[in-house]
Amino acid sequence: MNVQFKKGVLELCVLVLIDGRDQYGYELAQNISKKIEVAEGTLYPLLRRLTKEGYLSTYLGESTEGPPRKYYSITAEGEQYMNALIDEWKQFSEAVDQFIKEGAGHGEK
């Protein structure tokens, strides 16, 4: 997938996934890369930025194996931001779908 395109959408995916359940970085990276081809390393800068902007907060959670892990959870501000992004995404993807439908229709005639 196009890199620029992915950048914007990844932010939304990260927020949605963390909104669903608090996760640590590695877990989140795995969950995303299962479905979207992404360099997992670039998720960390994204997580750090979202945390600095106050959309995410972090806490240390114990794990059964190894040292405690840094969990990310969404803040109230983050939820607001996520909902705004979801609306934007819906509008955007509907418009794109529309274009594709019309374009494909013309191609067949």
Partner: protein
């Protein structure tokens, strides 16, 4: 590439950031590696999944400079640059130019000397026509020794030349940086 290389690489690429930021970033990746290897992945696999450290560093640096502007106060910087340029030109003309020319011509002179020494066996042929074979033999061997010295001198000079060139480029760059106010690390 193994884990250590990855960290060294990333640390180097992030060198512009304050140590605190860098440590935080590296700690996150340290955690990632720990969990990954607990799940049975090799270091290579984890690095493969993480992708190019350059991309990670670029994203971090972009975020950092977006919130921490690199330099403040652009209003006075033009006047500052102009003044600095004038001071530097004056300083370079008065203090730096003399010794620099001296070194330059001294260097040229040494090269001429070295070249003369190297071709001296050819010149020794002249003595063959002037004073006969025995004298020629003597001058020839002496000139061979000179040729050797000349070759050694040329090698030394080519190293010195490289050094002088780098010093020159470095000094010019230093001047440019002073004027533009850019910092290198």
């Amino acid at each position: 590439m193994v884990k250590n290389d990855f960290f060294r690489n990333l640390n180097h690429l992030l060198r512009e950031l304050p140590k605190k930021e860098r440590d935080e970033i590296l700690a996150d990746f340290e955690e990632h590696f720990t969990i990954g290897s607990n799940e049975g992945k090799t270091e290579e696999e984890i690095i493969q999944e993480l992708g190019d450290p350059k991309d990670i560093a670029n994203a971090e640096l972009a975020d950092y400079y977006a919130t921490n502007p690199a330099r403040q106060g652009g209003a006075t910087s033009a006047t500052r640059s102009l003044l600095l340029a004038m001071v530097l030109i004056f300083f370079n003309l008065v203090v730096v130019a003399g010794p620099a020319f001296g070194i330059f011509f001294g260097f040229i002179g040494l090269w001429v000397g070295a070249i003369c020494l190297v071709i001296s066996p050819l010149l020794s042929l002249l003595s063959y026509f002037q004073s006969g074979f025995d004298a020629f033999l003597f001058t020839f061997f002496v000139s061979l020794a000179c040729c050797g010295v000349g070759l050694l001198l040329s090698i030394a000079l080519s190293y010195i030349g490289k050094f002088l060139w780098h010093a020159c480029v470095g000094y010019v760059r230093f001047n440019m940086d002073l004027i533009t106010g850019r910092k290198r690390s």
